[in-house]
């Protein structure tokens, strides 16, 4: 992903995946070919669900992501927007995850001149970091202002940074690091249909107290791979349209 080329990365993750299986208690040397597991798996559209109504802003997702993807300390794929509404004592506070929304119809892929951006079988927009030439076209067309232009401290080259949905994990049937770590289960991972159903059911529950609650991402850009549960209208958030 970030600093490895894609082939190397898959190699790393194959071993990682196997070691994880081993640690989970299945006997066997850690040389199980994870790729073969992946090949047997039926591919369907997957999604991350960010239920902002359960997020306590602990930032574990950001850090798990940074470690998983071996990002330098200052680089992060997951950021947050915060809004306050009302005056004391009737204040409410809301957070929203700001990271790649994994558009079904992703304009960044269309404009990338070197095919550094591409769709995986799970529907996420992955990045070939080595291939990126830092032209910033993806940033200019992104509807959500996500990719960040920054220096790769190892090579000194300037590149675009954005969430790749942990390609090395999801392509092996694994779960993105942000969803694995989330203690409030605000971040969940599953098939797109499951996640949408969960989001809709949560929003129905929220509407008692938050009549403007909504699911964001069921239709935008032909459906988003990062679905959002919002308690207030999308227009309140600086990076949503």
């Amino acid at each position: 992903m970030t600093e490895l080329n894609r082939r190397d990365f898959l190699k790393v993750s194959a071993v990682t995946g196997a070691a994880t299986v081993f640690a989970a208690g299945c006997a066997g040397a850690p040389d199980v070919a994870a790729e073969s597991i992946a090949e047997e798996r039926p591919r369907e559209r997957m999604a991350l669900l960010m239920d902002n109504s359960l997020c306590v802003n602990c930032q574990a997702c950001r850090l798990a992501c940074q470690n998983e993807n071996m990002l330098p300390v200052e680089r992060k794929y997951i950021r947050f927007d915060y809004i306050d509404k009302g005056r004391f004592p009737n204040t409410t506070h809301h957070v929203n995850r700001h990271s790649c929304q994994h558009c079904g119809n992703a304009p960044c892929i269309d404009v990338c001149p070197v095919d550094a951006l591409y769709k995986g079988q799970e529907g996420f927009t992955h990045v070939d970091f080595e291939a990126c030439i830092g032209c910033q076209l993806c940033g200019t067309v992104c509807p959500f202002d996500v990719p960040v232009y920054n220096e790769d401290p190892r090579s000194g080259a300037w590149k675009m940074y954005k969430c790749s949905a942990c390609e090395h994990l999801v392509s092996q049937g694994g779960t993105p690091a942000c969803a694995s770590t989330c203690m409030t289960e605000a971040v969940q991972y599953g098939t797109w249909e499951e996640m949408l159903a969960k989001a809709e059911s949560r929003v129905a529950q929220l509407r008692d107290k938050h009549p403007q609650a909504e699911v964001y991402g069921s239709t935008q850009q032909d459906g988003l791979g990062l679905l959002l549960v919002l308690r207030t209208p999308a227009a309140d958030y600086p990076h949503l349209v």
């Binding site: 994880t20 109504s53 506070h93």
Partner: protein, 750 residues
């Protein structure tokens, strides 16, 4: 060669941390991690807070790369909070203590050998014990199984009675108040509750991973949850926020009891069969009307009634969470009675042992190792516990010990993995106390504010490089295993150091066992071996028939997984039906509305209203300063971790919160720097965040910033304010805690 701050870093692995501060990339180390290589997954436990979540450390090229939650650990439940991810930094931090250090000047040290260090320490300690007796010595630690076993055993073997932890800056008042009502500090069964009231507790930011998981599950289940807090914290943000004037939670709680009692909304069966002192309590509580409480707390009378009725309607499947620090902890003069008032409401609801109420889980069976043990000393403690503070918990009062040290009565201290100089008010008081000692030995991995006052700093390997004593949490049995090789070969683990010191002190006979010997003995009644546990890291063990209530830090959680067939049946949380009330740990075996023990010690037998010691009236430019956690920092030890400091920097979150209307009246704008002046004349300059999320009476200081050790360079570069710099040394009369929020400041322009 003497080591000061500059040379300390020069001597580290070629990394100039000063230059790297807030521009944190350690390229060499990072490249090593990124490099392709096989990955091993090894079990461990997080070391960032007392919860010690079970986790897996993924090791690549022999270097810890990332962590994932251990699914078989009762607290982590496969999840991890941010600190666990960032905690790997502690292994490779260039600021690690690498060899034994001896003080040669103000915050300056020289590297010495273990032989020299332990010889000199033993000689000095012998002389102090000979001349001044056991009362002149103390041991203190942030509680860990290994520290508790080895430090306390070492102290006991020398006849030293004063062993302490951090609790007097944390939840000792809660522990005391709950113990003298319910007989133990029960937690709430958050996950299954229909209604929960949190009194200042912030489950999302004062994190225990599994507790936050249960809390969020209750939110997702649609439980009604109210957070009483002067600040719209992140837990209140996803539930219902009821703002309250800081320091007045006791008035609110007494009024809720008043409503439940006077309107006959209590569990008559529980009160009749399982409590004592109710008649007197009923008489006393009539004075605390909702009208009265509304005037003190600023919460409308109708809201107080609504909360009381909601609790009654949902009883017994609801709870007033028993809190941790905040209102029931070490913040205010009324902390202990606030904890008792929380207990009263739960008793009135009859929720003990009921689904969604207060509960205790079954605890894993721990066998008693049979090695020669020193007698537990019965001599006088130097922190006032048992004398000046007759009912204070044995977790001790480090701030009182520092006062005695300043008076020349305490001469030697042994401190492990604990930083009381920075974590207690006031900094100058704590520092002066440590400096007044003839011998201060600090066991640390880092140059903390306490370490830099030491005469000797003895370095341990980091949490990932050492094994420790087994820990149990509910049914979970877990241990820290050696995940990576020692980064600094000269470091020694705590069990090795104490055994060495004990031999030099002539009490080696109490340490003629290895870590493995002790751990094997602990597991004698479990169906798995120590080797099994080292491989698994965390597992669910055989449990006792009776619930085991946590003593102090160490949270226990209800298991959601069905119990394996080898486990005993659960006596609690069996169903929605009424469960039998468990035996209570009080002297009477009953819930005590009236505490004989308190009365005998000269305190009020029944909790009663008292104001914060600093009163409730504020001048036009005055505020109370309250501190609290952000989810991504722990205590006073994480602001130096680059990944966490970067979050603070990205979102500018180490500013001091001020209510927007008050700010406007004072002419203070967002991001302005102002001067805070305490009544003792001390001042600090802080940057303000103007917000609608806070009560007008208070400033909120995010905790964990403001490190003073010049060796903590990332934290120094990040900056920030620690209110203990302004707060006075104080003691709450009953539990003796440090009254950390009894601080009123005037805001001045600079």
């Amino acid at each position: 060669m003497a080591i000061d701050r500059r040379t300390f870093f020069k001597r580290t692995a070629g990394i100039t941390a000063a230059a790297a501060a807030l521009n944190f990339i350690d390229m060499k180390a990072w490249a090593q991690t990124v490099e392709d290589g096989p990955v091993e997954v090894k079990p461990s436990m997080c070391n960032m807070c007392t919860s010690e979540c079970g986790m897996q450390i993924h090791v690549k090229n022999g270097r810890a790369w990332k962590v994932t939650g251990h699914p078989d650990h009762g607290i982590s439940r496969g999840k991890l909070c941010p600190r666990a991810h960032a905690g790997l930094h502690w292994i490779y931090d260039p600021g690690r203590v690498k060899t034994p250090l001896k003080r040669v000047g103000e915050w300056e040290f020289e590297a010495i050998s273990w032989e020299q260090a332990t010889d000199e320490i033993a000689d000095k300690l012998k002389a102090i014990l000979d001349e001044h007796g056991q009362e002149a010595v103390f041991g203190a630690q942030y509680p860990r199984t290994t520290g508790t076993l080895y430090l306390n055993r070492f102290m006991h073997s020398l006849g030293v009675a004063t062993t302490m932890t951090h609790e007097a800056s944390c939840q000792s008042a809660r522990q005391l108040g709950m113990t003298h009502t319910f007989g133990a500090a029960y937690d709430a069964d958050w996950r299954h509750a229909k209604y929960l009231l949190f009194v200042g507790r912030n489950m999302g930011e004062g994190i225990k991973t599994g507790s936050a998981n249960c809390f969020a599950a209750a939110v997702a289940n649609g439980a009604k949850i109210v957070c009483l807090d002067p600040r719209l914290n992140q837990s209140a943000a996803i539930t219902e926020w009821v703002p309250i004037r800081p320091g007045t939670d006791l008035a609110f709680l007494l009024a809720v009891s008043n409503i439940l009692v006077t309107e006959n909304l209590f569990d008559r069966d529980f009160i009749r069969n399982h409590t004592n002192g109710f008649v007197n309590f009923r008489r006393e509580i009539t004075q605390y009307t909702p009208e009265w409480a509304a005037g003190i707390t600023g919460i409308p009378e109708d809201k107080i009634r609504e909360i009381a009725y909601d609790l009654a309607d949902n009883a017994p499947h609801c709870a007033v969470d028993t809190g941790w620090k905040a209102a029931v902890g070490s913040n205010f003069a009324n902390g202990t009675d606030t904890a008792r008032a929380v207990a009263y409401i739960n008793a009135l609801l009859g929720n003990l042992g009921q689904l969604g109420g207060l509960y205790a889980p079954l605890g894993a069976i721990v066998a008693e190792p049979n090695f020669p043990s020193p007698a537990v000393p019965t001599g006088v403690r130097n922190d006032g516990v048992g004398t000046e503070f007759p009912v204070a918990p044995p977790t001790g009062l480090p701030h009182v010990t520092m006062q005695r040290a300043k008076e020349g009565k305490v001469k030697a201290g042994f401190v492990r993995h604990f930083n009381p100089v920075r974590s207690f008010p006031d900094y100058e008081h704590m520092r002066a106390g440590m400096r007044a000692l003839d011998l201060l030995v600090v066991f640390e991995t880092h140059m903390s504010e306490t370490a830099i006052e030491a005469d000797y700093i003895l370095p341990e390997p980091s949490f990932a490089e050492r094994e420790e004593i087994i820990k149990t949490d509910g049914a979970t049995v877990c241990m820290r295993t050696k995940v990576v090789d020692k980064v600094h070969p000269e470091t020694k683990s705590f069990d090795e150091i104490i055994t060495l010191l004990a031999q030099k002190m002539g009490v080696g006979q109490y340490f003629e066992f290895s870590l493995d010997d002790w751990n094997e003995a602990l597991l004698a009644e479990q169906p798995f071996s120590l080797a099994d546990l080292k491989r698994m890291g965390s597992t669910q063990g055989l449990t006792y028939d009776e619930p085991v209530v946590p003593g102090g830090c160490g949270n226990l959680l209800p298991g959601d997984k069905p119990a394996p067939p080898t486990m005993h049946p659960r006596v609690f949380l069996a169903s929605n039906d009424r469960n039998p009330v468990p035996p209570l740990g009080t002297p009477s075996g009953l819930f005590e509305f009236f505490s004989q023990r308190f009365a005998q010690a000269g305190f009020n037998g029944i909790a009663e209203w008292r104001e914060p010691e600093t009163g409730l009236s504020l001048g036009a430019n005055e505020f109370r300063v309250i501190h609290g956690k952000q989810g991504y920092h722990s205590h006073v030890c994480t602001a130096n971790i680059p990944m966490l400091a970067q979050i603070t920097k990205d979102y500018d979150t180490n500013r001091i919160w001020m209510n927007a209307e008050r700010a406007s009246a004072l002419g203070v704008s967002d991001n302005d720097t102002v001067r805070l002046r305490a009544k003792n004349g001390r001042t600090a300059e802080v940057r303000i965040m103007v917000t609608e999320r806070i009560h007008p009476d208070m400033l909120f200081a995010p905790a964990g910033y403001g490190n003073r050790s010049p060796y903590l360079e990332v934290s120094q570069a990040l900056g920030g304010f620690n209110p203990h710099d302004l707060c006075d040394f104080r003691t709450e009369p009953i539990s003796g805690h440090a009254m950390m929020s009894e601080l009123i400041v005037a805001v001045e322009s600079v």
